[in-house]
Amino acid sequence: MGAVIRNTIAMLGLLAGLMPLPGGLVGCGREGQVGEGQPVRPLRVLNQSEVQTLDPARISWQIDIRAADLLFDGLTQTHPRTLENIPCIAERWDLSEDGKTYTFHLRRDATWSNGDRVTAHDFAWSWQRVLDPETAADYVYLMYVIRNAQRYNEGRACSLEPLPRQAELKVKGKFVEAMPFDQVGIKAMDDYTLRVELVAALPYFLDLTSFITFKPVHRPTIEKFTIRQDGRVVDVDTDWYLQPGNLVCNGPYVLESWVQRQYMRYVKRAGYYDAEKIPSQRIEILPISDPSTAFKMYDQGEADIMPFPPLRRVSEALIRRAEQGRRDDVHVSLKFGTYFYRLNTQRKPFDDPRVRMAFSRAIDRELLTRRLCWLGEKPATSLVPPGVRGYESPTMAGFDPEAARKLLAEAGYPAGKGLPVVGIMFNKEASHQAIAESIKDMWSKYLGATVELLSLDRGSLRQKVQSLDYSAARAGWYGDYLDPITFLDMFMTAPEGGGGNNDTGFSNPEYDHLITEAMRESDAKRRNGLMRRAEEILVVEQLPIIPLYYYADMYLFRPEVKGFWPNQMGINPLRWAEVGMAGDSKQGDKEAGRQGAATQAKGTAGGRS
């Protein structure tokens, strides 16, 4: 039924969206033109759904990051065109010889929206807040790269447990003693100097300091809204950001008004230190969860940027038009993310690496992506997608049915005889279903396997996968930062390793050792070597997972939009974006990395996790 509704809406959307429209595609906002050559109206950006939180410590979704990035500045920021980390609140930084200690020197003219100065103490306090278990920050683990941060976090959590539970943890040897925060490698040396000591020399640490979790919040505001019970912190009243009048921020914009599930209206902040580089006076974020409606709005000129694809048929039609040179607002880019299947290595038949290898080699990834993906996804040859400077993934064995059958026979299942029924679980979505059906056909045809498909909602799938109650299950992973470790540490032995996301039962001492060493290693070349060997174990030798393809994504934005650059990391800050007059796009946007739609449209994109 859901599919019928979606398809009907898609077709109607296609009709509505692609038919010639009165007035063409030029935006027609309500606000009038300010002056010739000036931005005529706010930049209007669609978001896939309503923002869940604007608290940087608690944000874990891309939609929230998009909205909060306009309000909060971190030490550094990742430029969306080059993916380089450039100064933000920190105007410069020093790195110690061993690569483990960063000293950030903060600019002195940065202020909060209430006029308070932004200081190193704000960062130290905000980072401590992320590490405090009461905050329940999803991305707290990103801070575990800081010396003693994990111990502080876990120790505080243990100390908050009721006494009987503490005793139970002590018996199990899982009790972590609380440690004072001054032993954590975060120290405000003075108002404008922040020193951060890491557990190892990490080439990606500045990616982290640009990330939302590492952005500061205004301490007096948070303290004012903290809810306490018997002297203990229970939660923070969300009114601190839900009511724009309460929200004190340090970014280029302030939130002027927010009507939930209608719009968020931002206005450029007068006292912002870098105001001249912020081109748009006003920005509106419009949450539209129905892709068909979103596309209609975009095509009717009610929005300037649609940073997610419309429904499949519309996307395909748009890509075709872009390839024919009939649209110049369609942009597709490969992502730092991989679509893969997890295999349960604790359950027959996937407890044998030869069987896992056989099932992987029986999949024609070229055919899969050509037939079932539509945004330019590339067949995977490894887990870590290409694009990390200095790192080259090992290439896994490709499609070879003959070799697959041989491996299966060696494992004791000649022509699939004796193979138990293999179940593929996936979360309900048409694209996942189509891929699962295709793989089922390939496994049946080439290996003689009996395959069953099971479609579950996302929560149930996660529960099944976590409890290892499955044979094969769909998964997807986007890297948090541009480094292989964001993919590879996931498959360290659970439960200590893997951050709770291993979910395959895979455990390999050599792999664990290599990843641990890579996390400690300062020499980039050696570190890459360690990671490459680890990935080799993962995708060439052991295969607890079967990588299928690298994700791609589609963005629609008008030619007159400047300063918006799609990239592999999905980092699309709006702070540098503006909507100019039609035809202005040539002026400053040539280097925008906006490869022509036609070129990009050749790289497709498709299934979204």
């Binding site: 209608q262 929560g459 996660r462």
Partner: protein, 319 residues
């Protein structure tokens, strides 16, 4: 009447308690982890444990049942797990007002149009006008709202752009511009039902003795229909309108999605998908409270419209 009303009002908390209990058990039985929602990646154990504590999932089910019940009695709808710890009342409150406003518009439209169409069809029984009235009825009943909504949108917001493509009005001046199309989409199936009920009921009423008497006394056809027959003929429509009002005023997921109206429907569906148990329970309870209230109001309206029912009630109460 007052005794009857007090009895009905006293039953309200009992009905809500039963609905709360059944709904609580159902959401508890649903698979999926309520604190992890739609997350693909699992946060560290420290975070998951804290989330469980914040949302009372660190306690046994029966204890949680009691804690939440206590909160509902105090009027506290709890905290949403899927909307970053926001209070459910704060999320659902404005959404409910919007859905109710749109629902009221749709209902008013449906009652007026449905009643007129029904009366016209009944007074011209088996004539061409009666047959023609079947067309909108059949369309209203057979076309699902996601189709009517999208077609209306394309016709009147894209091809002939007289109404808004979607969105909630910014002020009173924009109400008709923004809400006409969604109100029509929402009203169409109700128009169909109301007009059919009205037609059947009116035909039957027009054959009754008191109508014949009115005609014999020389009352004009209009007076016969509107003064004498309409009150009686409206009763079946009224019994349909009670639950229909509750349903339409608590939001339609599809119509709200297509016209991007921030009402209750979207919240409810998303809450189910997100395993946001508190949100689901709270919306169910709001819906149940409305349904029960509208049923009481409907029963009261029977008495107003039909004196015979009022008399029977009074006799029953007196005996």
């Amino acid at each position: 009447m007052s005794t009857w009303l007090i009895r009905r009002l006293l039953a309200l908390p009992v009905v809500l308690l039963v609905i709360y209990t059944v709904s609580f058990l159902l959401v508890e039985a649903a698979p999926g982890d309520p604190v992890l929602g739609q997350r693909d990646r699992i946060p560290p154990r420290v975070v998951v444990d804290r989330l469980r504590y914040m949302y009372n999932y660190d306690m046994p089910m029966w204890q949680r049942y009691g804690v939440w019940l206590g909160q509902y009695v105090r009027g506290d709808l709890g905290t949403s797990t899927s909307y970053g710890h926001q209070p459910v009342a704060q999320l659902v409150g404005p959404a409910f007002v919007r859905s109710a406003a749109l629902g009221f518009m749709a209902l008013a439209l449906a009652v007026v149009v449905g009643t007129v169409v029904g009366i016209v069809a009944a007074t011209h029984q088996n004539q061409w006008i009666d047959q023609a009235s079947l067309v909108p009825v059949l369309l209203g009943i057979s076309l699902p709202s996601f189709v009517t909504a999208a077609v209306l949108q394309i016709l009147f917001a894209v091809v002939v752009p007289v109404f808004a493509l979607g969105g909630w009005p910014d002020g009173w001046g924009e109400v008709l511009y923004h809400l006409t199309l969604p109100a029509i989409a929402l009203a169409m199936p109700i128009v169909a039902y109301v007009s059919r009920l009205m037609r059947a009921s009116m035909i039957e009423t027009l054959r009754m003795d008191f109508v014949r008497t009115a005609r014999a006394k020389g009352a004009s056809p209009g007076r016969v229909v509107f003064k004498h027959a309409l009150r009686n003929a409206f009763l079946p429509v009224l019994s349909f309108l009670g639950p229909a009002a509750a349903a339409v005023m608590t939001g339609s997921f599809v119509v709200e999605q297509v016209f991007r109206l921030p009402g209750m429907g979207d919240f409810f569906v998303k809450a189910v998908l997100d395993r946001d148990r508190r949100m689901v329970l709270s919306i169910v309870l709001v819906y149940a409270a409305l349904l029960v209230t509208f049923n009481v109001v409907t029963d009261m309206m029977y008495g107003v419209l039909d004196p015979r029912i009022r008399v029977q009630e009074e006799k029953g109460a007196g005996s």
